[in-house]
């Protein structure tokens, strides 16, 4: 017994030595080779990352919201101009500000929303746009004409727009709804949603009480906080992702939502039951615009991009693919009727005119922050 055991061990050992050793050595050389290879490529990437890829006609680096620049438009621009374009995705205006403020961002064109335009302008991170170099820019007669956050369109050219409003299911509410007060109606307890975003949630509170959504008044914000605290037990939750779908399927009755995208799709599935409105208190509208980053190394290419974006066909293609509204009225003739008639995309101008712009609350942000903490704790 003992003797056999020892032999067995010996056999195992020898096998390991023969097969194990060679394969291990192979493995070592392989992994070292891999490391060297990766190290090399990493070095190359770090060295090359900062420099622009040298194309014949130069390059252009765009930092925009996901979905608001269609790939087909980028390709068409590259084909028409020979410029190599990179497009990166912004997740929030705040992240965009942080990155541009850090300097050396490498971006030429950014797409901030209205209050981010204000902020970038104040911090001198974007440069004035020379209207002499633009072809076909006109926003006359639109609500976006010379907006309050950037009078004279000096620093930003409006691109796409949308609103923050109310979606409701009329089967569930039992009739038309025209005010934020539906979000305080105890009859719909557990079937209401509000956007999971501090300033967006305050839109409902402030406008419900008859104040402006862009209020910076401490007392008004405090009252809105109390209203939001009172509203919270009635809500199914704060939701920024799928409340429009829940309203469309009847699992929810009404919700505060952003227009466009899935909200538009939800309305389109059943337009006689699912409605999107700007409440009579106004709702709010947002505008994403093009701006040129200070220190851009490709300014002339940036103007080429702006002019390309101003062409009605291109503006329309972006609006159709994003399912948001173009700010360019000349582009309307290229937009399909089903989009133009969808109130969750093209909010009737009359109601858009009474809507507030969400602006940078400045120092009033502390009132919102502390109030929102109370709401969350309550």
């Amino acid at each position: 017994m003992k003797h056999k055991d020892e032999k067995g061990v010996e056999v195992v050992k020898r096998r390991t030595e023969r097969t194990g050793m060679t394969s291990r050595r192979n493995m070592l050389t392989r992994s070292i080779a891999l490391l060297v290879l990766l190290g090399g490529s990493l070095g190359g990437v770090i060295a090359g990352g900062s420099g622009a890829s040298a194309a014949s006609k130069g390059s252009l680096h765009i930092y925009a919201w996901a979905g608001e620049v269609p790939a087909t438009m980028v390709k068409a621009f590259e084909k028409a101009t020979g410029i190599t374009v990179t497009v990166d995705t912004a997740t929030s205006n705040e992240a965009m500000l942080a990155k541009i403020a850090a300097g050396n961002s490498g971006y030429d064109v950014v797409e901030p929303s209205q209050y981010a335009v204000q902020e970038l302008k104040q911090q001198k991170l974007i440069v004035p746009i020379s209207h002499a170099k633009l072809v076909g820019f006109s926003d006359e007669g639109t609500p976006y004409q010379s907006p309050s956050y950037d009078t004279g369109d000096k620093y930003s050219l409006p691109w796409l727009t949308g609103s923050t409003g109310l979606i409701y299911n009329s089967t569930c509410t039992g009739g038309p709804v025209n005010s934020w007060s539906v979000l305080w109606n105890p009859a719909f307890t557990g079937k209401l949603y509000v956007l999971d975003n501090e300033l967006s949630a305050y839109i409902t509170g402030l406008q419900y009480l008859g104040f402006k959504a862009s209020s910076t008044n401490k007392a008004e914000i405090a009252q809105a906080t109390a209203a939001l605290v009172a509203q919270k037990p009635l809500l199914a939750g704060y939701n920024s992702t799928n409340s429009a779908q829940l309203v469309a399927s009847g699992q929810a009755c009404a919700a505060e939502v952003y227009s466009g995208g899935t909200t538009a799709a939800a309305v389109a599935t059943n337009p006689s039951v699912v409605h999107y409105i700007l409440p009579h208190a106004g709702g709010t509208i947002w505008v994403d615009s093009w701006s040129i980053v200070k220190g851009s190394k490709n300014v002339s290419n940036a103007y080429k991009w702006l002019n390309f974006a101003l062409q009605p066909k291109n503006a329309a293609s972006a609006a159709i693919s994003a399912q948001e509204a173009t700010t360019n009225h000349a582009a309307y003739k290229y937009i399909p009727a089903k989009d133009l008639n969808n109130s969750a995309i093209y909010t009737p101008l009359a109601s858009a005119a009474t809507a507030d712009f969400i602006l940078d609350p400045g120092s009033a942000l502390t009132y919102f922050n502390s109030g929102w903490l109370q709401v969350q704790a309550g």
Partner: protein
């Protein structure tokens, strides 16, 4: 053996009763554990199954089933931004996993066998990034790059991800390295190895399963990261999670469900091919530590290649 054969019959009967009771008890416990694990698995996998089902749903709203379609997969493969973001994510995840695993291996080997002044402080510093909120680390990276006048891009992104993954890799490899028998290295030296060849021929092969585990873990952390990538990325380096997160603004289309399905399937395949074997061997090594001698471990390694 001897005690059992000497037990009186009466006592044996009592033991039999107790054994029955014990069996019933253990059956109840087993049943409860089984029930809990079923619920746990449902909790883990129902959302994934829903994701896979809705990736084939014709409706652009993922709330009701309207019909079968491959359309979202077609859209997915034509989405050049998404494919580009996937490419960036893969480059960054592979690079940061390899670099942080190499760094973790070196520090783990040194820390597990050398005693030096300030070792504790050094280790605490290694693991500190685990405790610091990721957003703080991200802002630190972006500030540092801006102070140094460097632009954001692959460099900052990979550096940021190494900061995130290094502590995990070091913890894993440090654990594996301290469990190694120090006499193995001594034996190798006695048999004519110098320090380097002892490492290459004895220590490294024994640590190989842990190295693979560290690679996989680091890859996963990097590949799924949003916060750090959001700040540390620059021109042309939008990662996949950042792109998907950005899509939230207009609402997520079922195209993302299709992407999620492909990632789940891809992960299953990868885990099935390499991960499982390595993980099993590590788990076996951990639980049966001491029993699994170096020869068996070496064999495991040899086999897994």
């Amino acid at each position: 053996m001897t005690t059992l054969s000497q037990t009186p019959v009466a006592q044996g009967l009592g033991q039999g009763k107790r054994a029955v009771l014990r069996r019933i008890e253990s059956r109840i416990v087993d049943g409860a554990i089984g029930g809990v694990s079923v619920v746990a698995f449902l909790f883990l996998y129902v959302p994934i199954v829903a994701l896979i089902i809705f990736s084939f749903d014709r409706s652009p709203l993922s709330s009701s089933w309207t019909g079968f379609t491959w359309g979202w997969y077609t859209t997915l493969f034509h989405d050049t931004f998404l494919i580009g973001a996937l490419k960036v994510s893969l480059i960054v995840a592979v690079s940061s996993a390899v670099v942080s695993t190499v760094m973790a291996l070196m520090s783990a080997v040194v820390l597990s066998r050398l005693a030096f002044k300030g070792k504790r402080a050094f280790m605490a510093m290694l693991f500190l990034p685990l405790l610091v909120p990721e957003i703080v680390l991200s802002v630190a990276i972006i500030t540092m790059m801006s102070r140094l006048g460097l632009s954001l891009g692959y460099g900052s992104l990979i550096a940021g991800h190494i900061v995130l993954t290094l502590p995990y890799g070091t913890l894993l490899l440090f654990g594996a390295a301290t469990r190694l028998d120090p006499s193995l290295e001594e034996a190798a030296t006695d048999l004519g190895c110098n320090a380097f060849s002892a490492f290459m021929r004895v220590i490294f092969p024994l640590l190989l399963p842990a190295v693979f585990a560290s690679l996989l873990l680091s890859f996963t952390i990097s590949f799924t990261d949003v916060v750090m990538s959001n700040f540390a990325s620059g021109v042309g380096t939008t990662t996949l999670p950042v792109y998907v997160y950005g899509l939230l603004k207009t609402g997520i289309s079922p195209e993302i469900n299709a992407l999620g399905t492909l990632l789940v399937v891809g992960t299953l395949v990868i885990v099935g091919i390499i991960g499982m074997r390595q993980l099993v061997s590590i788990m076996a090594g951990q639980s049966g530590r001491g029993k699994a001698g170096p020869v068996e471990l070496a064999e495991l390694n040899a086999e897994s290649n």
